[in-house]
């Protein structure tokens, strides 16, 4: 299953490393990354494949959320379908 991970918050050292580390630990493969800084705000969007993920989607979502809260970031994972539905006919 393909999903989109978004990381939004104030920029600081090690954001990509920590998020990628957590995804790797859970067997989530990263397919694409785009990252930018918008008015000091760090914005990263990743396309990931969760088919080999070792925990449930809900657990992964919670782990990412908690990881984000530790470092003042909003991190979420959502199935790609919702973006397709909303923006593609």
């Amino acid at each position: 299953m393909r999903a989109i991970v978004t990381v939004i918050g104030k920029d600081h050292v090690g954001i990509i490393a920590s998020v990628c580390g957590l995804l790797a630990e859970n067997g989530v493969n990263i397919l694409d990354i785009s990252q930018t800084i918008l008015q000091e705000y760090f914005t990263m969007i990743m396309l990931v494949d969760t088919s080999a993920c070792e925990v449930s989607f809900a657990e992964l979502a919670n782990a990412l959320k908690e990881k984000g809260e530790e470092s003042c970031l909003s991190i979420r994972i959502q199935r790609e379908d919702i973006f397709d539905a909303m923006h593609r006919i």
């Binding site: 989109i4 978004t6 939004i8 694409d32 785009s34 930018t36 914005t43 969007i45 396309l47 989607f57 809900a58 979502a61 909003s74 979420r76 994972i77 959502q78 199935r79 790609e80 379908d81 919702i82 973006f83 397709d84 539905a85 909303m86 923006h87 593609r88």
Partner: protein, 452 residues
């Protein structure tokens, strides 16, 4: 791949503009639960609902997590109870309301709708008992919602039922006087009720519906408001196009969630109801949209035109986004559930008369309106008659959900809590309508030709 701007736009809609799935409502037929013994009937009703809806809440929560979209309510609608209970040898259906309440509590849904009767042409024995049971049923339960259909375009208006519902509303208010007449917030009087509405308090599983079905209601007044902020000062063609595009996006998401819920629960997908349903939260208001179109306050002259445009554009945008659109679909204008409407009432800009005009073009009717506790039953019946006439003549659904809050007067505020919000008590026309309501009988169905 979807581009990052689109992804961030979706997230902003959810995070900052209150985009959500307002409800996943499972419709369950109870027609096979009829039994002469009301206790057996109650048991069958309880067993069937708890079996069919066992996984409803869990499935809703799973989808919520995976798609990252809030699903605010999981609810159940059932066959109008008057039809199910009619074969019971009982003189009250309150035990059935309690059975519904217990079943709702067991499966974890916050409302269950369908303590209802369809009496637009006349009452059966069961309809009479059900209507008489409404005040106690709503006072004795927390989650049960009730509705009565008193008129249709094809049948006309049952004025005996209209007279009766005025008295029932007063009685329901009196039985829940300590909660501001809360029971009335769970009671809707309809004209042209729809069979597949997923929204409370008027949801029931109509007699033409299948055994079990999943209906989804989407919302998002905040998203429409935000989109209109980007086209300030531009012509109404631009406004209509902008609303259509936004409604399309919102509905596509509802369709996705509806199909996913239907697949996981192994229950057929019924409809998506694309309604702009406000909540008391700031930024989740239909009034804000109307004001964004250029009105200094909702209620000002021009409000009806603005609402007509909004209601129509929402439907046009949504229709293409879903394989099946149904329910009430359009813009709701409840007072207590919309911060902008409350503000307009409090500053005297919005009256019941203007709301009545707005119901000619909105998706339902006079909704969540508190009036003084001493408002006579006949005046409430007359309000229902007016609203029914609008629905019957214009071939649309209209409804009245009015709360004569005991002990209150104009200017007081009644708090119902949660999604039901806070209602400022509004003045009603003080002139007497009792001789009109006292006539009883039937207002004939309108002519459908010679339309000038």
């Amino acid at each position: 791949m979807i581009n990052s701007g689109e992804i961030l736009q979706t997230i902003e809609m959810i995070d900052q503009q209150h985009l959500d799935i307002r409800t996943i409502t499972m419709g369950i037929s109870l027609r096979d639960c009829a039994h002469p013994d009301i206790d057996v009937c109650c048991r069958k009703v309880y067993d069937k609902i708890t079996k069919y809806a066992e996984n409803l809440v869990k499935t809703g929560e799973d989808i919520e997590k995976e798609f990252g979209i809030p699903i605010v309510n999981k609810r159940i609608s059932v066959t109008p109870v008057a039809m199910v209970a009619e074969s019971c040898e009982a003189d009250t259906y309150v035990p059935l309301a309690k059975a519904l309440d217990r079943a709702a509590e067991t499966v974890g849904v916050n409302f269950i709708g369908g303590f209802s009767a369809l009496v637009h042409k006349g009452c059966t024995k069961g309809d009479e008992i059900l209507i008489a049971s409404i005040p106690e049923a709503l006072a004795a339960t927390g989650r049960v919602c009730s509705s009565v259909n008193v008129a249709t375009t094809r049948a006309g208006i049952n004025m005996d039922a209209v007279a009766k519902m005025g008295r029932i509303i007063k009685e329901a208010a009196a039985m829940t006087a300590e909660n501001g007449g809360m029971a009335c917030a769970k009671l809707v009087v309809f004209a042209n009720a729809v069979e597949d509405n997923p929204f409370m308090a008027g949801a029931f599983h109509g007699p033409g519906e299948p055994e079990c079905v999943i209906n989804v209601g989407v919302s998002g007044p905040g998203v429409v408001h935000h989109a209109l902020q980007a086209v300030k000062g531009q012509g109404f063609d631009v406004v209509a196009e902008t609303i259509k595009k936004t409604a399309f996006r919102i509905t596509r998401m509802g369709q996705l969630v509806a199909q996913e819920a239907s697949r996981r629960l192994n229950v057929p997908f019924g409809i998506v109801d694309l309604s702009l349903a406000p909540t008391p939260a700031i930024g989740d208001s239909v009034a804000d949209i109307l004001e964004e179109m250029g009105l200094s306050s909702v209620g000002a002259h021009g409000t009806t035109a603005a609402l007509a445009l909004l209601n129509d554009a929402v439907k046009k945008g949504g229709v293409m986004a879903s394989s099946r659109v149904g329910g009430l679909s359009g813009a709701f204008i409840p007072v207590s559930e919309d911060a902008g409407m409350i503000a307009a009432v409090e500053k005297g800009a919005l009256t019941i008369e203007k709301l009545e005009a707005m119901t000619c073009v909105c998706s339902v009717g006079l909704d969540m309106i508190a009036v003084p506790g001493d408002t006579p039953a006949e005046t409430i019946s007359a309000i229902i008659a007016d609203e029914s006439a609008i629905g019957v003549v214009n071939n649309k659904t209209t409804a009245v959900r009015i709360i004569p809050a005991p002990g209150t007067k104009v200017g007081d505020v009644v708090d119902f809590g949660g999604l039901l919000g806070t209602a400022p008590v509004m003045p009603v026309n003080p002139n007497d309508s009792s001789a009109f309501i006292g006539r009883g009988g039937h207002i004939p169905a309108p002519l459908h030709s010679l339309k000038n």
